[in-house]
């Protein structure tokens, strides 16, 4: 998956919602949604998905989630 497909080269504030939507779709396509969610919830030590997505900085880890998907697809 190219960075552009995730909107990772766009201005950070303007593209946050779009990035997340595209990433969620990509994760669901791969059947990996709960792994990615579990990874992020563990990383941020939060108890709910809602709490996860209002956290600042969650978007910094989109690259890492991409890597996880990449590893699974090899």
């Amino acid at each position: 998956m190219k960075r552009e497909e995730l909107g990772l080269n766009e201005a950070p504030l303007a593209s946050r919602v779009r990035k997340l939507t595209v990433l969620e779709e990509k994760i669901k396509e791969n059947g990996l949604e709960w792994i990615a969610v579990a990874w992020l919830m563990d990383h941020y030590n939060v108890a709910s998905i809602d709490e996860l997505f209002i956290r600042e900085g969650v978007y910094d880890y989109l690259d890492h989630m991409e890597n996880i998907i990449g590893q699974m697809e090899k």
Partner: protein, 160 residues
């Protein structure tokens, strides 16, 4: 000097307090037949996740390490953060000997063993006794298979 010994265990017969991490994951896997759902995050923190591989003569590559995973406790945060570049433990013998449990979990969903091994760590060779569980998970949409490893370290002492 290196060794690896293991004795198969039934997770249903383990002490549920002492091995709560292993027992709870085994219960979850049995209940869901290995399928990951929205409750997976409750177990993820204690797991080391590995990709599926046909060849299991060595352990499959690590794809993610939970914050409380036994591998992170043993090999450290720096190692855990570097698994994308180097997706294996630092101990070649462990990688080879531990692979049997992955093969068993592929056939039987769960493999639980009491292990005693010499493990190469940052500070040298360590004698370790640990209970470990290898479980086979599958993703809900495409049924991709992956493995989850959880351990409880019972003894960990430096040998040299």
């Amino acid at each position: 000097m290196s060794w690896f010994e293991s004795v198969p265990q039934n997770p249903e017969l383990l002490d549920r307090d002492k091995f709560s991490v292993i027992v709870s994951i085994a219960d979850y896997v049995r209940f869901n037949d290995g399928e990951i759902d929205e409750y997976f995050h409750q177990y993820y923190g204690n797991l080391t996740l590995c990709a599926n591989r046909d060849d299991l003569t060595v352990c499959p590559p690590i794809i993610a390490v939970g914050s409380n995973a036994s591998t992170r406790q043993v090999f450290g945060h720096k190692w855990a953060e570097g698994i994308i570049q180097n997706p294996a433990t630092p101990d070649p013998l462990l990688e080879k000997e531990a692979a049997v449990a992955y093969e068993k979990s592929r056939d039987e969903l769960l493999a639980c063993e009491l292990c005693n091994a010499a493990v190469t760590c940052d500070d040298g060779l360590r004698s370790m006794t640990f209970m470990r569980l290898v479980a086979q998970f599958r993703t809900p949409v495409r049924s991709r298979k992956l493995f989850g490893f959880a351990g409880v370290v019972l003894e960990n002492r430096l040998l040299n």
